[in-house]
């Protein structure tokens, strides 16, 4: 690869990253959200090194008895479970599971949703009709029950949770991006590109895609947030991956143990993590909402 190309690519990436950094930093709420999400990401990456204990290892206190149902203390910052597991370690390791699920299903679903929306909106006619009827069918699918059915049939595995989420969640982004594509398609620069003899694919990906990008990123953030809430709900009902720890799974264990009456810390820690992360994602998305819909800026 010629050196100049590489430098050009690097410059372009730096410019794009810088641009998005500016978009997010223009809005104070988005700025807070961005930093919170970054902290969670760092925790997720370094989780195995940050967690002081094994997630499912019984802890003992200095007197040698099992540290069961201890409220938060210096030794156990967020307390322990009825079996003496360290909740702080569980919380850190669960961050990784949650972020993997959120990032993977958010990414795949937005790729599917964007492509279906772009193709349906650009070509119109029969293709549009078929793709939108397909989207309608998915709107008829109850989301969480669909995950429950898939997990019950195929087993409690992370892949199936992600698969089930991805199969349904792209529907909203497809509809929204289709509508935007139809609006952009009628603009003059598209006609000009056609007159120059650009291929359909080139028009879709080089001319229309950059214009729907803010909307796409907005829905990517939404999809990640929805995936996280949905995974947590499925795990809470006992339909998550049984071998990896997740925030919803921690609350499921609490519910199963029947210690809801006493162990407030066991409830508070994973709940606060879910709420903080999802709220931050929504805050970040607000920056793109303003770019995608400039009328909002006045408010």
């Amino acid at each position: 690869m010629p050196e100049g190309f590489e430098r050009g690519l690097l410059a372009r990436i730096t410019r794009t990253v810088g641009e998005h950094y500016r978009i997010i930093h223009a809005n104070p709420l988005s700025r807070i959200g961005f930093w919170v999400v970054s902290v969670f990401t760092i925790v997720a990456i370094f989780a195995p090194w940050l967690a002081p204990h094994e997630p499912w290892a019984m802890q003992y206190d200095s007197e040698g008895s099992i540290a069961s149902l201890r409220p938060p203390s210096l030794e156990f910052p967020v307390g322990t479970t009825h079996l003496g597991y360290d909740l702080f370690s569980q919380l850190i390791l669960a961050t990784r599971t949650t972020l993997i699920i959120g990032a993977v299903s958010g990414f795949i679903s937005i790729v599917i949703g964007a492509n279906i929306g772009l193709v349906a909106g650009y070509y119109g006619g029969k293709i549009d009709e078929i793709l939108m009827r397909l989207t309608d069918v998915l709107y008829g699918m109850p989301f969480l029950p669909f995950i429950i059915i898939l997990i019950a049939l195929f087993g409690r595995k992370l892949e199936f949770v992600i698969l089930a989420i991805v199969l349904i969640i792209w529907r909203t982004s497809a509809r929204v991006i289709r509508a935007q594509t139809i609006a952009i398609k009628q603009r003059q620069f598209i006609t000009a590109a056609k007159a120059r003899g650009c291929s359909n694919l080139r028009i879709i990906y080089r001319h229309i895609l950059p214009n729907v990008l803010p909307l796409l990123l907005l829905y990517a953030a939404f999809n990640i947030a929805w995936s996280i809430i949905t995974e947590a709900s499925a795990s809470f009902l006992g339909f998550g991956d049984g071998t990896t720890i997740s925030w919803g799974g921690m609350l499921y264990e609490l519910w199963l143990s029947g210690k809801t009456r006493v162990a407030w810390w066991w409830f508070a820690a994973p709940s606060l993590c879910i709420i903080t992360l999802v709220t931050s994602l929504v805050f970040v998305s607000r920056a793109y909402e303003e770019v995608a819909n400039p009328r909002l800026r006045k408010r």
Binding site: V137, G140, I149, S233, R261, W264, T279
Partner: protein, 328 residues
């Protein structure tokens, strides 16, 4: 209008048919025996064979598919592995319990959401506006089981104000929906699940109402109404809110789709004997006929509600009708 409604009705039937077909495919993709769907593996080998023939499971797949569709239409949805009762009978009882809770939750969401959103826009940037936005965003981010657990822990366990679950006291099962509605215990028990469902969905209608209100408040006819010397309350409710409501209705159909998910969690959490709880229980105990029937019933509920909101929207905003028929 009629043409539009009929076309939506046709789409609705096609969608139900498509969902049923997808369900058929998913259950056939099952690792191992495809017959698990109707025949419990716990049964005797010879009995299993006999049942296979009885259910037509020894026939080719395409023929099985037609039998499946025929059974769906004639409401032959199989029997539960666990209780041996007919799935359709189990569902009939559960269906109304779900609808009751959903209706209560939706009423609370829409009334409170629209009301608060209206006031937020009227007193824009005031304390109500800011508190409303922040708490709204937090409740939207809190999955329903978090809110529900919190309510249970504080109001039920600590303060003892509400029962922890169920729909009526143990051993006092009412004979019908009407008798249920006259039980004070029922109303006592529906409070917490309703608040939980309501709080989860309140944010969207609230914020949409606020934004839509702000837009309406900027228009000339509001200025005129104020200039006429009408009371602010009258302008807010009769002139502005009425016009702003349309945006909330558009959203109702999207909310309905999500509402089912929250419903499942809340029913499981509060042991509410509805379809959501049945879904969780039957899937966990691998009671496939019940799981399949419940899923289909939930899907039909979602699809019909989508249909109803579409029609309602068309009634409120006749422009939809014109653009819809203009498309084809």
């Amino acid at each position: 209008m009629l043409e539009y409604v009929l076309r939506r009705l046709l789409y609705m039937l096609i969608t139900i048919f498509a969902v049923a077909s997808i369900l058929f495919v998913i259950f056939r993709l099952l690792p191992g025996e495809a017959t698990l769907q109707v025949i419990s593996p716990a049964m005797d080998e010879a009995v299993q064979e006999r049942m296979k023939a009885a259910f037509g499971l020894d026939k080719p797949l395409l023929q099985q598919y037609f039998i499946y569709l025929k059974n769906l239409v004639s409401l032959e949805w199989g029997r539960s592995f666990v209780s041996a009762r007919r799935v359709i009978d189990i569902l009939e009882y559960r269906f109304w319990n779900t609808v009751l809770l959903m209706a209560a939750g939706m009423c609370m969401t829409l009334m409170l959401g629209v009301g608060i959103g209206m006031v937020m826009a009227w007193k824009r940037n005031g304390p109500i506006d800011i508190i409303g936005t922040v708490t709204g965003l937090i409740f939207q981010a809190a999955p329903p089981f978090v809110t529900g657990l919190l309510l249970l822990m504080v109001l039920s366990y600590r303060l003892g104000l509400f029962p922890t679950g169920g729909m009526y006291p143990p051993g006092q099962r009412p004979d019908g929906v009407l008798e249920l509605l006259f039980m004070p215990e029922f109303w006592h028990r529906i409070v917490l699940p309703t608040i939980t469902v309501g709080l989860y969905y309140i944010t969207t209608p609230m914020l949409i109402m606020r934004d839509s209100m702000l837009e309406v408040l900027g228009s000339d006819f509001i200025e005129l109404a104020k200039a006429k010397g009408l009371k602010p309350r009258v302008v807010m409710i009769k002139h502005a809110a009425r016009n702003a409501l349309l945006a909330v209705v558009t959203l109702a159909s999207i909310m309905v789709g999500f509402a089912i998910g929250g419903q499942v969690v809340v029913e499981a959490l509060f042991s509410w004997p509805g379809m959501g709880q049945l879904m969780v229980e039957s899937a966990a105990s691998h009671d496939y006929p019940v799981a399949q029937g419940t899923f289909l019933m939930l899907a039909i509920l979602v699809i019909s509600l989508n249909f109803l909101t579409d029609v309602w929207y068309c009634y409120l905003d006749p422009r939809i009708k014109i653009s819809a028929s203009g498309l084809n």
